[in-house]
């Protein structure tokens, strides 16, 4: 969940908590009814109440929409690579699978700290094109690392997906001394 959605969710939760607390206090008879009715009449008369209610309603609608729209980018939005097209059917490799293969290949190169990947797939004409953004460790030879990563990624893609000479565009996005957490270092 990104930062904006977190903030909206926080504000919505706070509003719901405050409203439910007020209702609870009212039900428990914490304050006399005349006090409540005076406060409600006052609240209804000020423009801030209208603006606040309208905002809360819009945020609720947005939260409702997000709750039904899935977990963010759909696999279709991220793309899939068509690697086989035959009378028996098509074989597609989704972004997550390609990502796993590319991560294994790129992070195995000494000097690579982090890899971000985008892929482009346009059917049979362009089955797969990869755009990698690398974060390197300090003192690394960027040219050597780029060549190594390109070679390894192409070899991995050819070996496991059967696609030869896949274009790989490398961008050196930065240098970092932080060691990125890796789920698995060895197979």
């Amino acid at each position: 969940m990104n930062i904006l959605n977190r903030i909206l969710l926080f504000l919505l939760s706070l509003t719901v908590a405050a409203a439910s607390l007020l209702v609870l206090l009212f039900c428990l008879g914490t304050f006399p009814a005349p006090v409540w009715s005076n406060e409600l009449v006052y609240a209804a008369s000020i423009p801030e109440s209208i603006i606040g209610s309208a905002l809360a309603f819009l945020i609720s609608l947005f939260a409702l929409y997000r709750s039904f729209s899935g977990t963010g980018k759909s696999p279709a939005a991220r793309g899939s690579s068509l690697i086989v097209h035959s009378p028996t059917g098509d074989v597609r490799v989704e972004y997550a699978a390609v990502r796993e293969l590319v991560d294994r290949a790129a992070l195995a190169v000494s000097g690579v700290r982090e890899v971000k990947m985008k892929m482009l797939a346009k059917g049979e004409s362009v089955p797969l094109q990869l755009y990698l953004r690398l974060i390197l460790s300090p003192g690394t030879d960027a040219a050597r690392v780029s060549a190594d990563v390109t070679a390894r990624v192409r070899q991995q893609v050819e070996q496991f997906m059967g696609l030869k000479d896949v274009p790989v565009d490398i961008t050196i996005a930065g240098v970092s001394g932080r060691i990125a957490e890796r789920k698995h270092r060895v197979v």
């Binding site: 086989v84 028996t88 059917g89 074989v91 796993e100 059967g162 197979v187």
Partner: protein, 132 residues
Amino acid sequence: MEQEKSVVKKETNLGSIRIADEVVSIIAGLAATEVDGVAGMSGGIAGGIAEMLGRKNFAKGVKVEVGEKEAAVDLFVIVKYGVRIPDIALAVQENVKQAIETMTGLSVVEVNIHIQGVILPEEQKTEEVRVR
């Protein structure tokens, strides 16, 4: 009771034979997971929740379109790391096609494979230990 979607396969003087769509899905799912190199089927959030509640879903990761005489299948598969995907996909297509045609008599017009992920051997072992 909600009537499940099914296809009238055969009508005889003794009655009709119906094959539920879910049956075709289950056949396809089982045939796909039999292939060496296939780690499992990708069922998404609903499938994951159903499995957490202890309900085995053999039709997970399978979408079928069933007609009177033909069927088309889409499989969402997770493969093991180290396998050659085109070879595995071909084996899955053949196995699924044969299984459905043999068991239901439907002609399979296409079997589309969507490779959803790659699983590593230690991840596979962790899942196996959990279910024993």
